[in-house]
């Protein structure tokens, strides 16, 4: 057992849990959280792919890709949350 196997399997498990949540969750905010879990799971796999046995330094290219992914995900999250807020307000106005 090495850290890369352990965390690789963790990443796959987190991705699968997020996927299940995105398919099953009914609440919009919860579905957003599930998609965030998917993105973290994918990040795990890239970081694991970059890992080398300790005397060697890890590969920096996947690290840069994950950092890019994190920033893109926060942008997507912000837009999705703005849409959720807007939808909620419109629905509340319709109900009145």
């Amino acid at each position: 057992m090495t850290p890369d196997t352990i965390y690789g399997m963790t990443g796959i498990a987190v991705f699968a849990i997020g996927l299940a949540g995105a398919l099953c969750a009914q609440d919009r905010l919860r579905r957003m959280l599930a998609l965030k879990l998917c993105s973290v799971g994918a990040g795990f796999l890239l970081v694991v792919a970059a890992w080398r046995r300790p005397p060697d330094v890890p590969d920096p290219v996947p690290h840069a890709l994950v950092i890019t992914g994190i920033v893109v995900m926060v942008s997507a999250t912000a837009v999705a949350l703005a849409l959720i807020r807007r939808l909620q307000t419109l629905e509340a106005e319709d109900a009145d």
Binding site: T2, P3, D4, I6, Y7, G8, M9, T10, I12, A13, V14, I17, L19, A20, L23, C24, Q26, L29, L33, A34, K36, L37, S39, G43, F44, L45, V47, A49, A50, W51, R52, P54, V57, P58, D59, P60, V61, P62, H63, V66, I67, T68, I70, V71, V72, M73, V74, S75, T77, A78, V79, L81, A82, L83, R85, R86, Q88, T89, A92, A95
Partner: protein, 326 residues
């Protein structure tokens, strides 16, 4: 044989998976968001264990900190607007109907199959095969910086990073458009302790953010981590109402949003000519150019993330009301 660190890894991996399940199964949404923040911080710890301190910093600051703040703000908005109706009306709005058991089982089976396929592919893949390590270490002397991740982000794969800054810019434009004329939930009142806390931490955060940016040239850190930490300053200022966005500040904010993208693209194009292509910085000036880009991109990231948290474009006070009446 059993390395104590392997035990730590197993424990951490178990906690991460359990927290991921808890995020989706906890009934209360506020609890789910808090559990998600803990999950993100533990993931960052796992990435630090995998010798990826840059990624861990970015995940802790952006993926968990800023995202958590955005989620909590949205939850506050949702709760404020569903309080007006009775519980039944609120339930009708979200149209929650019980999902047939078969659908849940089918979904779970599908996700299990996907996970199984991924696991088989992952375990069968060659372990620690050659990556870009050799290429990067060969090119490091020409990059102008000493830290490989910064060299990849700002020099070798600078085009990716430029597009990433553009995505952030597109997000703030989209949020301003979506929320145009939206009535805002009143911000919660913060107590005296909070104001004192903000006054004490603000200078410290500014120093930490600037340090992360400056240190990025030779050690883990850089524009994105520093920018996110500086965005926390904006969040604190907005929450404690030490700064209230005014319509007249919009012009300045717009300039701050495009500053990073503009300078990055401008530098990339200006270094062309004399046999060089775009993004190919002359080695003797590479360090200066990278620092210039990083510094201005950091300002843009900090302002953009704070604007994404604030959400609504600061428009004149009568505009949303007139829109609301129609």
């Amino acid at each position: 044989m059993t390395d104590p660190l392997i035990l730590f890894d197993l424990l951490l991996a178990g906690s991460i998976v359990a927290l991921a399940v808890a995020v989706l199964s906890v009934r209360d949404l506020f609890t789910a968001i808090v559990v998600f923040i803990v999950f993100g911080l533990l993931s960052a710890l796992a990435w630090a264990r995998l010798a990826a301190p840059d990624v861990a910093l970015a995940e802790a600051a952006i993926g968990t900190g800023v995202t958590g703040a955005l989620l909590l703000k949205t939850l506050h908005h949702l709760r404020h607007f569903s309080d007006g109706q009775t519980q039944d009306a609120a339930r009708d709005l979200t149209a929650v109907q019980p999902v047939p058991m078969g659908v849940t089982v089918a979904n779970a089976a599908f996700c299990g199959l996907v996970a199984l396929g991924l696991a088989v592919a992952f375990l069968g893949a060659p372990q620690a095969g050659p990556g870009f390590d050799a290429l990067v270490s060969d090119a490091m002397p020409h990059s102008g910086v000493a830290h490989p991740v910064t060299a990849v982000l700002l020099n070798f794969r600078a085009y990716d990073t430029l597009m990433e800054v553009v995505v952030l810019l597109a997000a703030v434009i989209a949020v301003w458009q979506i929320e145009r004329g939206l009535t805002e939930a009143p911000a919660p009142a913060l107590g005296m302790v909070w104001a004192g806390f903000a006054r004490l931490t603000l200078p410290a955060i500014v120093v930490i953010g600037t340090y992360l940016l400056w240190k990025g040239a030779e050690a883990p850190g850089g524009a994105f981590q520093g920018g996110a930490v500086l965005a926390a300053v904006g969040l604190l200022l907005l929450l404690s109402r030490l700064y209230v966005p005014q319509p007249s500040h919009r012009g300045l904010a717009r300039w701050a949003f495009v500053l990073g993208t503009g300078v990055f693209a401008g530098v990339a194009l200006l270094v062309t000519g004399g046999g060089r292509v775009a993004f190919q910085y002359p080695p003797e000036h590479a360090k200066t150019l990278i620092l210039l880009i990083e510094g201005l991109v950091t300002i843009s990231i900090a302002v953009t993330l704070a604007a994404l948290f604030h959400g609504r474009e600061p428009v004149a006070l009568n505009a949303p009301e007139s829109r609301h009446d129609t």
